[in-house]
């Protein structure tokens, strides 16, 4: 079985503030994830802002160094102590898609220059093969090379530009693509176009995805696995369908209940919203205890352990 993704005790601590009142933010707190499969998968990491999901993506992309811990992608150690692949080898394994397509491209360069650069520097193709590779990648995302050639970022719509971004990520045929909130900046009615694309890229072209989002509905639609995060820790992790059909952690239940769907109207109960961020990161026990409907005294002091359930999921709660 291939280890598609495995993080071991991944930690990232940020120290903010001046000399006199330093605040420690555990952006990632002992994050342990293991996914082993032989076929490509889509793993969703879901959480609010401040949950650590973007930090996790950045650590896996090697844009941020973790304070401690290690990570393995497709059987290769990419972060942590030991031999790691060089940048070029790494970029052939892992590629990103960023949240804001207009920020992801420099407004001074034509977008296809980025594709060409990837083809030459990462995929290490010959000059003669570059155009064919670009055209093929663009075709996979539903765009025509002639329509993209020579154009600047502001000549595209958000959805189109995001597709160009995906095409660029496909050129080196990476094993896994890390998509950090790829559809948050796109209109709700147009998101499914991109989401369906991810699904077809996984099924027909065998690419795995790490899909970071705060939108459970799209996560439900395409994920095989889902990891729910809150303030730097995983609270629930396992098979996506099972977790979303029967959420066991109180936070997952809260997330599910907050999705505005078009079937049932919400109950008009007040929901516990988060307090000032810095305060919550400082809790020694479970970070969710302030907002949790079933919290007790012990939750404030003791970190919840990972409880493995029969269906294979992990729930990090004292009362799982």
């Amino acid at each position: 079985m291939t280890t598609i993704l495995k993080t071991t005790n991944l930690n990232k601590v940020y120290k903010l503030g001046g000399l006199l009142n330093r605040v420690r933010i555990n952006a990632l707190d002992e994050v342990n994830l293991t996914i082993e499969r032989d076929e490509p998968v889509i793993i969703s990491v879901v959480g609010e802002s401040g949950s650590g999901k973007t930090t996790l993506a950045k650590v896996i992309l090697r844009l941020v160094h973790p304070t401690s811990g290690s990570a393995i992608v497709y059987d290769k150690l990419i972060v942590g102590k030991g031999d790691k692949p060089s940048n070029v080898e790494f970029f052939n394994m892992v590629q990103p898609i960023f949240q804001n397509p207009f920020e992801a491209f420099s407004s001074h360069r034509a977008v296809d220059s980025y594709l060409a650069d990837t083809a030459v520097n990462v995929a290490q193709l010959q000059k003669t093969e570059v155009v064919a590779a670009m055209a093929e990648a663009l075709r996979l995302v539903g765009l025509d090379y002639q329509d993209v050639r020579g154009k600047y970022p502001n000549q595209f719509s958000g959805g189109e530009l995001q597709r160009v971004s995906i095409a660029r990520a496909l050129i080196p045929r990476p094993e896994i693509i890390i998509a950090d909130e790829p559809v948050s900046m796109i209109d709700a009615s147009l998101r499914m176009n991109i989401i369906n694309l991810f699904l077809s890229l996984k099924e027909e072209f065998k690419r795995s995805f790490l899909y970071i989002t705060h939108d459970l509905a799209t996560a439900y639609y395409i994920s095989d696995y889902i990891a729910v995060m809150y303030r730097g820790s995983i609270v629930e992790f396992g098979d996506a369908r099972k977790i979303l059909a029967d959420p066991q952690h109180p936070y997952t239940q809260l997330l599910l209940a907050s999705i505005p769907d078009t079937r049932t109207k919400w109950e008009r109960k007040k929901i516990a919203l988060s307090d000032i961020e810095a305060k919550e990161f400082g809790f020694t026990g479970c970070r969710f205890c302030n907002r949790c409907p079933i919290a007790e005294e012990m939750c404030k002091v003791e970190r919840p352990p990972a409880i493995k359930k029969e269906d294979g999921r992990d729930v990090y709660c004292h009362f799982a």
Binding site: E48, M192, N196, L244, S258, D261, T262, R268, I271
Partner: protein
Amino acid sequence: MIRLKNIQATYTTVRGKVTAVDNVNLEIPEGIILGIAGESGCGKSTLLKVIYGNIDSPLALEKGQIEYGFTDEHGTIVTSANIREHWFKGISYIPQSSMSSLNPVTRIRQQFVDYLPARADKAAVLEAVRDYIQKLDLPVEALDAYPHQLSGGMRQRIMVAMGTYFNPNIILADEPTTALDVVVQKGILLLLMDIQEEMKNTIFFVSHDMGVHFQITHKMLIMYAAKVVEFGDSKVIFSEPLHPYTKMLIESLPTIGDKHHRAGVSGRPPSLWENLVGCRFAPRCPLATELCRTTEPAFREFHPGHFVACHHAEKANQLDEVAIRA
């Protein structure tokens, strides 16, 4: 009753003039939450700006008038001519991005006070503000903080507090929750609903997310390419939409528990720079016929209280699998 009469708003740029809101005519009852839906660029934010009266070059109100349904101290109905005098008290605006509306170098509590006339008693006001904040379940410490010390969600909740503090007749919310995650979004939406039920104000809520509209709105307005294409009660619009675009918007949202294939709305809205003939949605519409391409459909009352601009209105709900047009 709030009346929008023949509203035509344009932007003048170096390329010329483009009509961002084209001939909008509506009568909106007071005391409801009205949802305005549509893709980016359809004109919904511009419409909101025009209603607010925030009309500065390059935006211009070419034609049209608005009657706001409330009267000023002389007893005359407030219209677009004098709406600016009633900012914050009669009408307020909650923007999408709080960071560009909050003064980054003053504390939050100071920003409440800034809106008041000079002779007001600052201490008393701050006391009242503190009470109001607590009533909305916001932490009082937020008042003493600077904007950058608060998270995006917290700031937006503060913006809602500011926008509702003076109990205005009309609240305009321009995608206030779009940049936030679902839990905070739900919190803010529930808050708005509570405030509206208690104060009976009219809320105009712009969003591109139909799920949000389903949850909170009483009536809905769908816009496409600067025109209004459908208007009616939310319940009816969601169960029996008359316009194919509305149907496609509703169908494009994935739902948990529902694995049936969903497709996003394909294609792009037409460029408003071109000379548009016929129904603007025709190029993407699975029901389009020759009539649609040549003649613009009139915006008319199809059922009582339910308006639509479509030649084939009755057929929209029969679109089971929405056909995808490249």
